[in-house]
Symmetry: C2
Subunit: 294 residues, 2 copies
């Protein structure tokens, strides 16, 4: 076929994918071509605009390295990541809601015993975290793996501190026989997503701010359950209603209760004000076929 | 707003672009979010699939350098470039049809006088090109700038030959008082688009071949006319009906007539077989508002 015009080219391109061996890939490419062409027909880009789009995507790819994933940021800020999340988590009652993984997770963080201090010397207001991991049906899950990561008091993750040569404010714990973990850390702060790249250019050009409300990330894995990726957000944060990556759900917002000195839940005395986070997670059985196409 | 789900998140993200100062950018972002989310809802990607898509786009950006533009290749092979082209060139009678720029154009190629040999020693069957540049209404255009670029006899452009330290098979000519240019070169060959990157991965996974039928690129600029970007294709090429970038139009396919030795059109004797390309281009007046949003 030749002589493609703006009306017949879409079907011609879809036909070119007819011999794709993997039916799922064929379905995805067909849908991609259809939606991409509809987008182009809708906005009728000039050549200069299309070149600008190509240049933008190129810069986004070239901004990525082992500590920075700009395409995830772009997906996050366009609400695409949370939409993929929603589609993959049609949740049963009792299961904790999910949210985006974000770009700061590191696989294989150091293991800590319950009661440990994850701050590793990073300064901030002491936060004592207690959490229980349950099945959605309400049974405590012993031996679950809990990955935790969070920003410091200035809103930066350890990987954003080039002067640091070891990780901090992240680690892996394991639930005890009652399904509990507990640890010390510091109160996290609201922070802007990295905005010195193409995603920052987009936010500036559209009068959007780059801020995320303060939160602690959790990823919880237990045999027989879907791995839970979520955050717990600090109630009262000014960015809860305008999170740059659309990640806030009301069920994930909770008080990080402030106390004046006294005694921590593990019995240790503390002379300064401190915060207390107590949260209960519910895991969805992996028998539930919620995830797509895995 | 919080508690986004797969049904309400699209409008929430569109609302976040409400304060975009530039109305065109606001229109583009609104359409992008709407079509991107529709695509996601249609295919319901798993997390692993979405991560694979992010990784694919990242590799595509990182494949680009000053001699390689993988995102243009991706746009070309998905038919997007030809769709943008079609939207920007709703042509009047007498005007030459347009096609993709492709990734091998170089701005500011060396100037040549009419009659010059653009092959600069590259081996191949001699091709003598004569072309006339007219207005769509049929008047010859003197002093038009004609950029020409093409592959060698093995299907490679000069920029794909790392051992070459100067350009070949490309250059800029100027039409004489009768609107004519003429030059010597060699017969171009069909060639595969570069397939050692993410675009090649996509073509392999979908059983598509990477070949483009043999052609010579032309970009023609004259004051008062829209710049014409097009190719002239070699009649009889086996890939005319399956061009990997959907760029073929019947009006751009012509005989590169083969002759046995004799005399070239400029009077020079030639002892070997040679080809003759004669083509007439028609330029669209720039007063015609065909291009979008420039």
């Amino acid at each position: 076929m030749r002589d493609f015009d703006e009306h017949n080219i879409t079907q011609a391109v879809i036909d070119r994918f007819a011999a794709t061996p993997d039916p799922r890939l064929k379905r995805v490419m067909t849908s991609l071509v259809s939606h991409l062409h509809d987008f182009i027909r809708d906005i009728e880009p000039s050549f200069a605009e299309w070149q600008a789009a190509v240049g933008y995507l190129t810069r986004t790819g070239q901004m990525c390295d082992d500590k920075r994933q700009e395409f995830i940021l772009l997906s996050d800020t366009l609400g695409a990541s949370m939409l993929v999340d929603a589609i993959n988590h049609r949740m049963p009652a009792g299961a904790t809601e999910t949210t985006v993984l974000g770009p700061f997770f590191i696989d294989g963080a150091a293991a800590f015993a319950n009661g440990a201090d994850l701050a590793k010397g990073v300064e901030g207001e002491t936060l004592f975290v207690e959490a229980t991991v349950m099945s959605a049906a309400g049974a405590p899950l012993a031996g679950a793996t809990v990955d935790v990561w969070q920003s410091d008091a200035e809103g930066f993750y350890d990987v954003q501190r080039p002067e640091r040569d070891e990780h901090a404010l992240r680690g892996r714990l394991r639930t005890d026989a009652a399904g509990k973990i507990w640890f010390r850390t510091i109160q996290p702060a609201a922070y802007p997503i990295p905005y010195d790249g193409p995603v920052g250019d987009m936010l500036r050009a559209t009068n959007r701010h780059p801020w995320r409300p303060a939160h602690v990330h959790f990823m919880i894995a237990a045999a027989g359950y879907e791995t839970l990726v979520t955050h717990v957000f600090v109630a009262g944060d000014e960015y809860l209603d305008s999170d740059a990556v659309f990640g806030v759900k009301n069920s994930l917002v909770t008080e990080f209760t402030r106390h004046q000195s006294g005694t921590l839940p593990d019995g240790a005395p503390i002379a300064t004000p401190w915060r207390h986070l107590s949260y209960q997670f519910g895991l969805k059985p992996s028998a539930d076929k919620g995830a797509k196409h895995d």
